[in-house]
């Protein structure tokens, strides 16, 4: 069974069509990258998969492990194993990382029929996973994303990914605003999370992230559709030549 199967997805926001018949299939264990110029619909795809409500699905279907994803509430999707690493992580003043994550981890565990983690186990796991992305272990006392630097916020997203152990992780421009060291740390964290039963959808502007997280499949999103699919060499060509050659090829009837 596919991890994710998107068929003919049409999405509008406030009456403007953004996705216009998108098809995408991701098998378990695969890493897919989606590249595309600004406004092509990359972040819209991430938002729709996570369930942001201001987007209206006008046609098409999305199946997640054989279930209709679009029928599920946002928190239900998360508990079923869909994780979104936010492009702009939100601050929760006064809410400590440990309270926030304990609430999150335990609701996911409960959904899976697992027992809640004890306080001791929870802190141990937290310490372990924080080390994956080189986050300071005293982070548990800090409020969620409050006073975090841009790089810390992105590492914090990957840290949460590691804590929640999702089946499908969507990274929405996680590389934007990262310096080269932070980029390496984030990519290493992701690579260590790669597993046979876990898939990744990496949304990015730049090829440089894909030097570190080597994708199995690269898609190009243009004007709401996936117009080209290839291996990682496609990303390299886009980096060198931009999108114009592709637009020209598409304009010329074969």
């Amino acid at each position: 069974m596919s991890m994710l199967q998107v068929k003919n997805l049409h999405v509008e926001i406030e009456g403007t069509a953004i996705l216009k018949g998108l098809d995408l299939t991701i098998a378990p264990g695969e890493v897919h990258a989606i590249m595309g110029p600004n406004g092509s619909g990359k972040s819209t795809l991430a938002s729709v998969l996570a369930g942001r409500e201001e987007y209206e699905v006008t046609a098409g279907e999305v199946m997640f492990l054989g279930e209709d994803l679009l029928e599920m509430e946002v928190d239900e999707r998360a508990r079923e194993g869909v994780f979104l690493a936010f492009q702009y992580p939100v601050e929760l003043p006064g809410v400590s990382m440990s309270n926030f994550l304990r609430e999150a981890v335990n609701s996911v565990r409960e959904h899976r029929g697992q027992e809640s983690l004890s306080a001791v186990d929870f802190l141990r796991v937290m310490k372990e996973k924080a080390a994956l992305v080189e986050l300071n272990p005293d982070l548990k006392k800090r409020s969620v994303n409050e006073g975090f630097s841009g790089g810390e916020k992105k590492r914090n997203e990957i840290f949460q990914l590691a804590m929640l152990e999702p089946k499908l992780a969507i990274l929405d421009e996680t590389d934007s605003g990262l310096d080269i060291d932070a980029l390496r740390i984030v990519a290493d964290g992701v690579n260590r999370m790669r597993a046979e039963d876990r898939s990744f959808l990496v949304i990015t502007h730049y090829q440089r992230l894909l030097n570190h997280i080597v994708p199995d499949v690269v898609h190009v999103l243009l004007d709401g559709r996936i117009v080209r699919t290839g291996d990682s060499s496609l990303a390299l060509r886009l980096e060198e030549q931009g999108y114009d050659w592709l637009k020209e090829e598409l304009a010329t009837p074969a």
């Binding site: 369930g51 509430e73 929760l92 006064g94 926030f100 994550l101 609430e103 996911v108």
Partner: protein
């Protein structure tokens, strides 16, 4: 806003008041109305000395003059019908017996009432290290751990007992911080106050346990007018907590209290309030009108007074716990969380009056509004011309749950000395859909998400409460938020 979030906010707005039961108990209640006779009746119930009767009557005359001039305080951001002061009974005592010798004599129904409220009166059951005074309607019904406290020279008793046994202290300090003519409701209280708590900590004594008073209005058609007087002598320390509940009734009930605190040189008083009077029904029927004057004076070098309050109840809240920073190097603090829902209205804040050198004050106010409620912060920071190097920091944050509620901030700053430093910060935010979405995306449901966000918002205030009550406060806030869920 998603459907389930709307539902949740509706539930928050509709949440039930679990202390709304009425105790069927014999009560001695004065006829309705207020006159010199009423005042004399209240005084005679308790064999009060002549000076106090005179003091009351002076307050009554002042109040009557204000009433006749219609000089009600009308500046607050509150809307309510005119109160008919002749339609209220000014004295009600559970049982005809004015005071119990021991808990064995207390009506079991009354003990059960406080058990239901979660306030155990039997000392062996009392939370470790908390002495409790309980005031039902107009009289104090029980005070625990009195003997233990007496060993340290600490006086903790009902106001009535204090008048009998420590008249010199009462006479010296009553009205010294809040004069009987201070304002309309303080004058009313001074005329008809019936009981309350009294506390004296001798020099150099650190009170070994938390002191607390629980106030309960039970009888219909009565007002509650208690008075609290706390005197912390030189270099002493006390932490004091009050809690308040009332039954659910269709008519409004009037509560007008006065609290006075005197902190002498080097003394520290920490005063915490968990106010959960009946807030009225959703459409605004019933509920307590809460008009309270609370003020403390730092009456010597290095004295410190700290007010912490969690205000969740009452249809109308009008209170401004204040500190007069008279002694040099004295410190005043005000930490407040006010939560309103339904049609509740709160106008609350503080006054920090800087008179001494190097005095400093901190104000942190958090207002949370849900339903159709209105929540206002009103505060005054006044730096006297002679207060050299005074400092104040104020922070007022408002959080809106839903789009039919209001948050307002009315800060007044009067600085008359150029060496002072005054800072004010204010924010208003809506529990963001982005914040809820973020929590949801991590598997956290709507209700839990809102609870996390609200608790995070109040965290620094709840942390100021004594340990024993921080848990209670968090629970209360959760109940308020949870509504009928679970």
């Amino acid at each position: 806003m998603s459907v389930s979030e709307k539902d949740f906010l509706q539930e928050v707005a509709d949440s039930d008041y679990e202390y709304g039961f009425v105790t069927e108990i014999d009560a001695d209640t004065a006829p309705k109305g207020l006159s010199e006779d009423t005042v004399r009746l209240i005084a005679s119930k308790r064999d009060e000395p002549a000076w106090l009767v005179e003091w009351r009557l002076k307050a009554l005359r002042h109040w009557e003059a204000m009433r006749d001039d219609e000089a009600y305080p009308q500046w607050a951001h509150l809307h309510y019908p005119e109160i008919d002061f002749q339609d209220i009974s000014y004295y009600s005592a559970p049982n005809s017996k004015p005071k119990y010798e021991s808990l064995d004599e207390v009506d079991p129904e009354l003990l059960r009432t406080f058990d239901r409220l979660g306030i155990p009166l039997q000392e062996q059951k009392v939370l470790a290290g908390v002495a409790v005074d309980v005031v039902m309607d107009s009289v104090s019904v029980a005070t625990t751990f009195k003997d233990e406290l007496a060993k340290h020279g600490i006086i903790f008793c009902s106001f009535g007992e204090a008048i009998e046994q420590h008249p010199e202290l009462v006479k010296k300090y009553i009205g010294s911080v809040v004069p009987s003519t201070d304002n309309f409701y303080a004058a009313l209280n001074s005329a008809v106050f019936s009981d309350g708590s009294f506390c004296y900590i001798p020099p150099g004594v650190r009170c070994p346990m938390e002191l607390s008073t629980y106030f309960r209005i039970n009888q219909a058609g009565t007002g509650q007018f208690e008075r609290t007087l706390i005197i912390a002598d030189e270099n002493s320390y006390v932490s004091y907590l009050e809690g308040c509940t009332a039954p659910r009734r269709d008519e409004h009930q009037l509560h007008a209290a006065v609290v006075e605190i005197i902190a002498m040189e080097g003394a520290e008083v920490k005063y915490s309030t968990i106010q959960n009077w009946y807030p009225g029904s959703l459409d605004g029927r019933g509920g307590v009108y809460n008009f309270v004057t609370k003020r403390g004076i730092c009456n010597g070098r290095g004295a410190k007074i700290s007010w912490t309050q969690l205000e969740t109840g009452s249809a109308i809240t009008w209170k401004y716990p204040s500190v007069i920073l008279k002694g040099d190097d004295s410190v005043g603090e005000f930490y407040s969380v006010a939560f309103t829902k339904g049609k509740q209205q709160a106008d609350t804040g503080t006054k920090m009056i800087h008179l001494g050198h190097n005095t400093s004050s901190t104000i942190i106010s958090k207002g949370i509004s849900a339903g159709e409620s209105n929540n206002s912060y009103r505060g005054l920071v006044k730096i006297n011309p002679k207060a050299r190097n005074a400092r104040n920091f104020s922070q007022c944050d408002s959080l809106l749950l839903g789009d039919r509620c209001g948050a307002h901030t009315f800060p007044y700053i009067e600085v008359q000395n150029s060496s002072s430093q005054v800072e004010h910060e204010a924010t208003t935010s809506k529990v963001g859909e982005d914040q809820i979405f973020y929590c949801n995306q991590r598997g956290i449901g709507e209700a839990e998400a809102i609870k996390l966000i609200v608790n995070g918002f109040c965290k620094e205030i709840l942390a100021e409460l004594p340990m024993e009550f921080a848990v209670e406060a968090q629970k209360l806030l959760a109940i308020e938020l949870e509504g009928s869920v679970g």
